[in-house]
């Protein structure tokens, strides 16, 4: 959708989505006056098809499908440079979180499945072990992404330096972690939480 023409009309603009993003992020989208400072300082802009200020502009115009279809939101590093520098107090990092949540919840196909896979495995590890299990994270990512040889040379190097723990110690609060996950799921089922 990068270079296709954009037709603005009440039919193509979805302002409900903008209100949802504003509620989730706690930040105004409409305050942005397109100075471009967020994109100027964004370390990830060269990896994105829409730089941060254009994401906000597309949201202002109700073009959420373009935003969610692209890889830009998954290439935000959450470095907070944009939010810190915005002269109009638009919390773009929080808006990016809200957009990723919308995309994640929609479970639609994403151009950035690797980033989503890494996030998914990271969160699964917290649920299973209470803490991050770096060795499993790397190994399962490689298997599930089909990149069996990725970082193959790093493993022995890290092991020899004592940086890879082969076994993960289970956390004694693990039952409490599972309860937190299931309570959140329950709240969402009942519509009590976003």
């Amino acid at each position: 959708m990068k270079n296709t023409k954009m037709h603005l009309s009440t039919r193509t603009m979805n302002l409900d989505f903008v209100r949802k993003v504003e509620a989730l992020s706690g930040s105004s989208v409409r305050r942005c006056f397109q100075c471009g400072k967020c994109s100027a300082g964004c370390p990830m802009r060269s990896f994105m098809e829409h730089p941060p200020n254009r994401i906000v502009r597309l949201l202002q115009l109700g073009q959420y499908e373009r935003v969610l279809a692209g890889r830009s939101i998954w290439y935000c590093a959450s470095c907070e440079t944009c939010s810190t520098r915005c002269p109009n107090k638009v919390d773009l990092a929080a808006i990016m979180d809200a957009l990723r949540k919308c995309s994640w919840d929609a479970k639609g196909p994403s151009k950035e499945s690797y980033v989503q896979l890494a996030n998914r495995l990271f969160i699964d590890n917290i649920r299973s072990y209470g803490r991050q299990y770096e060795m499993r994270l790397g190994a399962v990512f490689n298997i599930k992404s089909g990149q069996f040889l990725k970082d193959l040379m790093l493993g022995p190097k890290l092991l020899s330096k004592g940086k890879l723990k082969v076994f993960q110690q289970k956390n004694r609060n693990i039952a409490e972690v599972e309860k937190i996950f299931s309570r959140i799921e329950e709240m969402r089922r009942k519509g009590e939480a976003p």
Binding site: P43, A77, R131, K161, K165
Partner: protein, 295 residues
């Protein structure tokens, strides 16, 4: 009889410090013991959720941090955090839960307990520079790091956003330079002190890290640095563990050891080198430290 501690903290190491960043944990404990600052690990702390949790599920991220804040209440003293990312998540949770009643109610339901926001969360740098104090630090130096040119690398989450971090100026911080200067080192002026290293793309898109961390190493080298100093396990991983790949991709030879702030301070304050985890670093600092007569 062991001498009494001058300060006491509860301690949240975070997941990396028990695995890929063991030298950060070892050197933190070594340095603080020498300075007689007590660290008492929070029992059975949980992962803070790091970037992946808040990226797709803010409620989960806030709930995990709130649970950790509750657990930290079992140990006395302000909460000391080493990892810049954990520090950022815990402080962000305190900030957001203090100002948003609706989020606080949701989190309280998720953790089935009242949210506890009273305990100050402090980064190690803050503890060393403010609570302990730079004068006392300078007085504790046994082996000044004379002649060592250090590029202090802040990365993203130590200082941003400033209303959450409350650590230092968000565009021109100096806390790392002040701390390491008190230990006798020289610091270099360089351009990439606060540029992102590529963060957690190291797993999903290592190419991003090769580019961004490569720029950081090139900038530090061009400024004449002998080494880099960091306070984040993710930055460390990207700059140290991936340095060889970066060199292969760019055709440049950097050979820049990447120290944790506590490793260099520990060395200066007379902590035994064997307790500072130098052997865990991928880019070996042995040659540099011998050349500067610090080992």
């Amino acid at each position: 009889m062991t001498p009494k501690n001058v300060l006491n903290y509860s301690y949240y190491p975070g997941c990396s410090l028990h695995a890929s960043a063991i030298e950060f944990d070892a050197s933190t404990r070594g340095l603080f013991k020498t300075l007689r600052i007590g660290l008492h690990e929070v029992p059975d702390w949980l992962c803070c959720g790091a970037t992946p949790a808040h990226n797709v599920d803010e409620l989960l991220s806030l709930s995990l941090c709130a649970k950790n804040l509750e657990l930290s209440g079992k140990v006395e003293g302000d909460l000391a955090v080493a990892c810049a990312a954990c520090f950022s998540r815990l402080k962000t949770a305190q900030h957001k839960l203090a100002e948003n009643g609706e989020k606080r109610r949701q989190v309280e339901q998720a953790i089935d307990a009242p949210v506890q926001l009273g305990k100050p969360v402090k980064h190690l740098l803050e503890i060393v520079a403010r609570d302990f104090g730079l004068e006392r630090l300078a007085a504790a130096v046994r082996k000044p790091l004379a002649g060592l040119k250090v590029a202090c690398y802040y990365g993203c989450l130590l200082t941003r956003p400033p209303e959450v971090s409350e650590l230092d100026d968000s565009e021109a911080p100096t806390i790392m330079e002040r701390v390491i200067a008190a230990a006798g080192a020289e610091t270099v002026a360089w351009s990439h002190r606060m540029e992102c290293c590529g963060a957690n793309f190291t797993l999903s898109r290592p190419g991003v890290v090769i580019k961004l961390s490569g720029d950081i190493l090139a900038s530090a080298k061009a400024a004449g640095a002998d080494c880099l100093m960091v306070a984040c396990p993710l930055c460390h991983g990207n700059l140290d563990i991936r340095q060889q790949e970066i060199e292969e991709a760019s055709g440049e030879r950097y050979n820049l050891p990447v120290f944790y702030v506590t490793q260099l301070l520990g060395l200066a304050c007379g902590v035994a080198a064997g307790k500072l985890g130098f052997e865990s670093m991928i880019v070996s600092p042995a040659g540099l430290l011998k050349e500067k007569q610090l080992l």
